[in-house]
Amino acid sequence: MKKSIKNVLVLVSICAVVSVLMAITNAITAPIIAKNESANANKALLEVMPDGKTFDKVDISMYTLPATVSEAYRAETGGYVFKLTTTGYSSGFVIMCGVNTDGTVSGAVCLASTETLGYEKTFGDLLTGKNAENIDTVDTVSGATKTTGAYRSAVKDALNAALILGGGSVDIRTEEEILADNLSSALPAAEGKFEKLFIVEELDGVDAVYKAINQTGFVCVIGEQFIGLDESGAVISEVSEETGETAEAAIAKILATETTELTLSDYEGLPSQLVSAERTATGNYIILIKGAGYGIIGGDDYHPASGEYIYIRVSLTKDGKIIDCLTVSEEETDGVGSACADESFYGQFVGKTEETYEDIDAISGATLTTDGYKKAILRAFTCVKIFEGGVEN
């Protein structure tokens, strides 16, 4: 018994002495170890901002920053370093970007990526020294547009974030977000869900009309103004009388629109690409026509043709002026010819006539798509002429 107690006592006292020894060492080394570790973490920060010296992490939840910003650090010198997570050719594209106090990029490096061509390793050097005004002068690398484009826009986000953290304000919303916000404030009852109306009547002074998907009303866009109207077409936004009348007149026209389906076999010489046609009570035409783009006449080993036409809906006055144009469906090459479904392309035809319709910007790299589209538009003009009895084949 006495022996066991001695065993226990000796072991416990050795443990106690050793613990004290470790505690003392820990007290001395712990601050040094912590300093070393933070210096190590700062290595990547120093790489993009060599004069930064020390960095403090910024609590980004206090600010509304671009979504790509995942971490932010404030340098002793006043600049900022941002960790940006974006998607280039594939997701998980992480960039570290420093922004000087004067709003120029102090450096940008890629921390992690699964991009294919390796441009993410060198592209940051091209962006170094640029600011918000001249960053767009750095061209993306042909063949690696997604990687370098994502890189450039992430660095732009960093420049904006630096402005915001510095107390400035920048509209970081995308165009779509701005539009959605404007529509919602004009007609809150729509709960943010709108569709753009395809216009079939000439609406004086109105640029676009959006309809609430839940049928609660309309929003007319007149210049910079967004005017909300209820489902009967009465203005609910506070606007000048004149503007309100313009909007109400437009909605009244839209609500009064009646269309009659035309029997295509009644006419001779219509192009075979014409799918259907309608005439409104005011004598305008709505034409659904198909265009042969890359999907029909293109195709190579790398980008096979889809075998599908581009379906285009066009509304025209009886004099052959385009009121509205919309790409209904397309199966063109993804990322190239598929741009014909963007409003920035088809919107160009609005207001054009047979004389001026060719005066539009083509889709870069998609000649066949653009040409097929233009031919379809030309055929729409022809159709209107035939319907009006002006042309014999």
């Binding site: 022996k3 001695k6 065993n7 000796v10 072991l11 050795i14 443990c15 050793v18 613990s19 020894l21 470790m22 060492t25 820990n26 001395i28 080394t29 712990a30 040094i32 170890i33 070393n36 190590n40």
Partner: protein, 229 residues
């Protein structure tokens, strides 16, 4: 070993009873940390410090520590010193700490240290134990450095991180890998054996106290009679 002078206690660890090449102790860190000379040297010195401190303390406490709990006591002391060394290295030599990784903490279970505590420090005076610790630690360090030199020079064409240009095209990358370590280890053991004419320490001169086979082995000094524990 009873009549050995202080000098021979110090020097025997370096060559005659080299822990790595003759006693074949501590093979795990020997293989793992010898891919470059800096790491090997750091590992050797870290082990030397732990060995020296634990030998001194265990020798001091040899009459206090009861036999029944001696192994837990030794391990506690060794682990304590290893932790201290680990914290010091992490604070003052972060690069070395990165390089050695987990093997620094694994000094706790390094056979050399527990082996010397059990076989030597628990039976000898403080001064002799300290000298034994230094000698064995130096032997360990030298062995690691010798092996790391071969592996780094011929395997990575550099010495202590400094590139050797004319070997660049002839480097044998295999040597810095684990199997290469085994090969170099074997060759160095053979070399040391040849140099000592196979006259390593006679088994008789070992204490059998720490040997798990003492009960049925009859070649050691105990003659098969395991010591009373």
């Amino acid at each position: 070993m009873k009549k050995n002078g202080y000098l021979s206690v110090l020097t025997k660890g370096i060559f005659k009873e080299n822990p790595v090449f003759i006693l074949i102790l501590g093979t795990c860190p020997t293989l793992a940390t010898t891919t470059n000379v800096v790491g090997a040297f750091g590992m050797g010195i870290a082990a030397l410090v732990v060995l020296l401190c634990s030998n001194i303390l265990i020798s001091l406490l040899r009459r206090v520590i009861p036999d029944a709990v001696r192994i837990p006591c030794y391990i506690t002391i060794i682990a304590g010193f290893v932790t201290v060394v680990q914290m010091v290295v992490q604070a003052f030599f972060p690069a070395l700490y990165e390089m050695l990784g987990v093997y620094l903490a694994l000094i706790v279970v390094n056979c050399i240290i527990l082996g010397r505590a059990e076989m030597f420090a628990s039976k000898n005076t403080v001064v002799k134990s300290a000298l034994d610790g230094i000698g064995m630690g130096l032997g360990f360090t030298l062995a690691l450095c010798a092996m790391a030199t071969v592996r780094e020079v011929f395997g990575a064409a550099s010495f202590a991180g400094i590139p050797i240009p004319f070997l660049e095209e002839y480097k044998i990358a295999f040597l810095v890998k684990a199997p290469g370590g085994m090969l170099v280890y074997g060759l160095l053991i053979a070399l040391v054996c040849a140099l000592t004419n196979g006259k390593g320490p006679k088994k008789k001169t070992f204490s059998c106290a720490g040997c798990p086979s003492a009960g049925y082995c009859n070649t050691g000094s105990c003659g098969g009679e395991k010591e009373e524990v």
